[in-house]
């Protein structure tokens, strides 16, 4: 095989040249067989550097190009384009990483130079086996699936719908709105959560470009960027949505009540046929079959009897529906769960009546909540004289979650403010580890609370108990805390304790990542493609994330991430066709023995068995190019484009050029063995 390889070694200013003797590598590379020309240059990625490659391809007739510079994740595309401009297929190029993987990791100039030579040689040997490939065009379906109808999902849906693209918004609960719908005021501006959220919810409900699927869950996802097919299970509401006007008479007439553990956080009751809250979108109620007397004992039907619509909207026979939806992109905005505070027994939640979680307090203080906004103890009538707010419950804690939940300091300050506002005589103690208020107007809000007379105690709460040691403590909850600013253990008797629990990943976030074939971190939060430069994309093409499913976030951050994800999707839709790397596997029919080992290996079900020909076949559009099947094929009938066995074997040989001397002796031994046979 005779190819004309051009090798280019970048100084990267001094980044590479400081540790690697680039001139030496270039001179050495120039002496290697097949290498037509080897050059070193100050900045290969500069336009002059790229021109060098372009001119050499044209003038010296190079048929392969190797550039030793930074990581291919940085500049592979740059140099591929340069090759293309020179008239060379961009896949006849190989990049060598001598910066991130070499010059930056050692001060040993001799070792780094030796390593650079090995890596360059590996690339030269590999590139000879490269084949011309064409980028694969991919049509993008303009519809988008948004999973999760919290504020992040709502923002993403509205952005896309307003841009003229159709959105399917899937929500697990009977109404959209998410956690934000449960909140009272929002920090630091203290505007009422419902007042700013409900108009957005109504907009979603009425938007011609949004198909709203509440009380629904994604069951299955197939396909790839541009062409996903999603199966959504629309759970039976037992309400005919075509006839129901949402008048609410059925709810009024339903004779049975149960505790509302979801929306009212257990502080109030709801009917068995219910809407989570009055402003719910959509307005249709849902029957809770676990508690409905008709479903349990076959009697009642009060809702049906009193339903005023014609024909009747109550349909006890309704079944779950399975919808197949074709979309081009998917945005996941599945939100968060609150840390279960009963996991910390010393804080007494569940045992001590007047220990509340933040969400319970949100409902208490909410004008639309069970007490119409009156702050009272668990008996629902006595207002507290003293309130303690405990920050970092389950956050920044080695035993639970190491991370900071980001929003708790701010909403704990908000709680303190609301107590001062509603109960001017009450004392408020905020027990914090560090006060974290980074955000527009946040520090100002903290300063305002300092002036309002909140007691700030810097220290982690050790214990909350009702066993009194003094008369003053009798009948109170005692918060035991080490006040680190005065270095003293303090016992603070209070009437009410509010715990600010950590935000954690949804309990089923791992299941979701498997469903959508993307990754989550150790804490269960979804992993973004790049923590800084690509915070909404995931490693799976066509799947984007927004809101607290990616990590703890406040409302403004969730809204902007939702909009950002929508912008990314809109960009793809506007382009219509994207080109993806042709790194795909294919099967050489003649070599396939039909053993089917590969059939079950593919995580994308891209390999099918052709019964007529008795060989396996790869659906190129489904293949993602991982190469697992290539490595598994016992007949070497599967090739992975751009990562073929020939290419990788030659690279191994090339990379070990300085120690591979033993090869001749191996051949000798093998031939001896043959004679022996």
């Amino acid at each position: 095989m005779s190819e004309k390889v051009g090798v280019y070694i970048c100084h990267c200013g001094t980044n590479i040249a400081k540790t690697v003797d680039v001139e030496d590598v270039a001179v050495w590379a120039g002496d290697q067989p097949d290498v037509e020309i080897a050059r070193d240059y100050k900045f290969m990625c500069s336009s002059l550097g790229q021109d060098l490659i372009e001119e050499d391809i044209k003038e010296k007739g190079l048929t392969r190009v190797v550039v030793a510079a930074c990581s291919p994740h940085m500049h592979e595309k740059t140099f591929r384009t340069a090759c293309e401009r020179g008239g060379l297929n961009p896949f006849l190029f190989e990049m060598v990483n001598v910066r991130e993987h070499n010059s930056w990791t050692t001060d040993d100039r001799e070792a780094a130079t030796k390593k650079a030579k090995a890596l360059v040689n590996g690339a030269v040997e590999r590139v000879i086996y490269h084949q011309e490939l064409e980028m694969m065009p991919l049509e993008i379906n303009p519809n988008t699936l948004v999973v999760g109808g919290g504020i992040a999902g709502i923002s993403a849906s509205l952005e896309l719908a307003d841009a003229g693209y159709h959105v399917y918004l899937v929500e697990r609960e009977p109404s959209i709105g998410g956690h934000m719908a449960q909140l009272d005021k929002t920090f630091p501006t203290l505007d009422c959560s419902a007042c700013i959220l409900t108009p957005r919810m109504v907009e979603v409900g009425q938007h011609p470009n949004i198909t709203l699927l509440t009380w629904s869950e994604v069951e299955n996802v197939e396909g790839y960027l541009g062409n996903f097919t999603v199966t959504v299970r629309k759970k039976a509401r037992y309400i005919n949505e075509e006839h129901c006007t949402g008048c609410g008479i059925c709810i009024e007439k339903c004779p049975f009540k149960v505790t509302d553990d979801v929306f009212e956080a257990g502080l109030s009751t709801r009917k068995v046929i219910y809407r989570p809250f009055p402003q719910a979108v959509p307005k249709y109620p849902v029957i809770d079959t676990e508690n409905c007397v008709y479903f349990l004992r076959g009697k009642c039907k009060a809702c049906q009897i009193f339903c005023p619509t014609e024909p009747n909207s109550i349909d006890f026979e309704q079944q779950d529906e399975f919808l197949n939806i074709d979309v081009g992109n998917i945005i996941l905005a599945t939100g968060y769960d609150l840390f279960d505070v009963s996991k910390i027994p010393q804080y007494g939640y569940g045992r001590l009546a007047n220990v509340f979680t933040s969400l319970e307090f949100e409902r208490l203080v909410n004008a639309a909540g069970p007490t119409s906004g009156n702050i009272v103890l668990r008996d629902m009538e006595t207002p507290p004289d003293k309130v303690a707010i405990v920050h970092c419950v389950g956050s920044r804690d080695e035993n639970y979650h190491k991370y900071c939940s980001k929003v708790c300091c701010m909403y704990s300050l908000k709680f303190a403010h609301l107590v001062h506002e509603r109960l001017p005589d009450a004392e408020v103690y905020n027990c914090y580890i560090d006060m974290r208020t980074p955000g527009k107007g946040y520090e100002e809000f903290y300063n305002r609370l300092l002036e309002e007379g909140t007691h700030f105690i810097r220290g982690k709460v050790a214990d909350i108990t009702d066993s009194a040691r003094t008369d003053e403590e009798e009948g109170k909850l005692i918060v035991q805390v080490n006040d680190t600013l005065i270095d003293k253990q303090r016992r603070i008797p209070v009437d009410m304790v509010i715990l600010s629990p950590a935000m954690e990943a949804r309990y089923d976030s791992r299941k979701i990542t498997q469903l959508f074939r993307m990754g989550c971190d150790f804490d269960g939060f979804f992993v973004e493609r790049h923590p800084k430069l690509d915070p909404v994309a995931t490693m799976t093409e066509g799947i984007y994330i927004a809101g607290a499913c990616q990590g703890p976030k406040d409302i403004p951050d969730s809204v902007s991430q939702g909009a950002a994800a929508a912008a990314r999707v809109a960009g793809l839709i506007a382009r219509g066709t994207v080109y993806i790397e042709p790194v795909r596997a294919s099967i050489i029919e003649e070599q396939c023995s039909g053993c089917r080992i590969c059939n079950n290996l593919c995580p994308y079900n891209a390999i099918i068995f052709n019964e007529d020909k008795e060989v396996s076949e790869i659906i190129t559009a489904l293949c993602q190019g991982c190469g697992t099947c290539v490595a598994a094929c016992p007949s070497a009938a599967i090739t992975g484009a751009h990562f073929t066995n020939d290419q990788l074997m030659s690279q191994i040989e090339g990379i070990l050029w300085d120690v591979g001397k033993g090869l001749e002796s191996i051949k000798k031994v093998e031939s001896v063995a043959e004679i022996g046979d």
Binding site: S71, W104, R510, G519, Q624, G640, I652, L656
Partner: protein, 160 residues
């Protein structure tokens, strides 16, 4: 004074996690042993056991396969397939008389440059302590048994 023996280790790093971990190690200027020579594959599941044998036979003293953490694979579970193959390969290598430290499987996510760098350092020291592999003499030449002559010829590092 005898020069310190420098083992050569070939690393098969997956494009999404471990290769990026190595990028991050570089970007964070983490210094580690310059003994690893990296070959990029799209997924650790692409690593054919033949690649490992090829590298060893070609003169490498060790091979590192690095992938995403289980559950975090870019291709869902390619790393699990790599793990299965690795466990089988380990059995075979043992029968060939190749020490287990010479072929290692490492998980490192894209944010774990330091974990990868540590693994490279550790593996380099372990292989350095074992000395050169000398495949053709010890594995093929002596049919898997290291004969006295071969062992005496092998350079023994000072610190052992």
């Amino acid at each position: 004074m005898t020069e310190q023996y420098e083992p050569i280790i070939v690393g098969f790093l997956c494009n999404w996690c471990s290769y990026r971990a190595a990028d991050l190690a570089g970007t964070s200027r983490l210094h580690y042993a310059p003994n690893l020579r990296v070959i990029r594959v799209m997924c650790s599941g692409r690593v054919d056991p033949q690649f490992v044998l090829k590298a060893l036979r070609q003169g490498a003293d060790g091979v590192m396969i690095a992938g995403c953490h289980p559950g975090e694979c870019h291709y869902v579970e390619g790393n699990i397939k790599a793990l299965r193959r690795f466990l089988l390969l380990k059995q075979m290598l043992r029968q060939l008389g190749i020490e287990k430290e010479r072929v290692q499987l490492v998980w490192a996510s894209a944010s774990e440059g330091i974990i990868l760098a540590d693994a490279i350092n550790r593996m380099t020291e372990e292989v350095r302590a074992l000395g050169p592999l000398r495949w053709q003499d010890s594995v093929i030449g002596a049919n898997g048994h290291k004969e006295g002559e071969t062992v005496q010829d092998a350079p023994v590092p000072e610190e052992v």
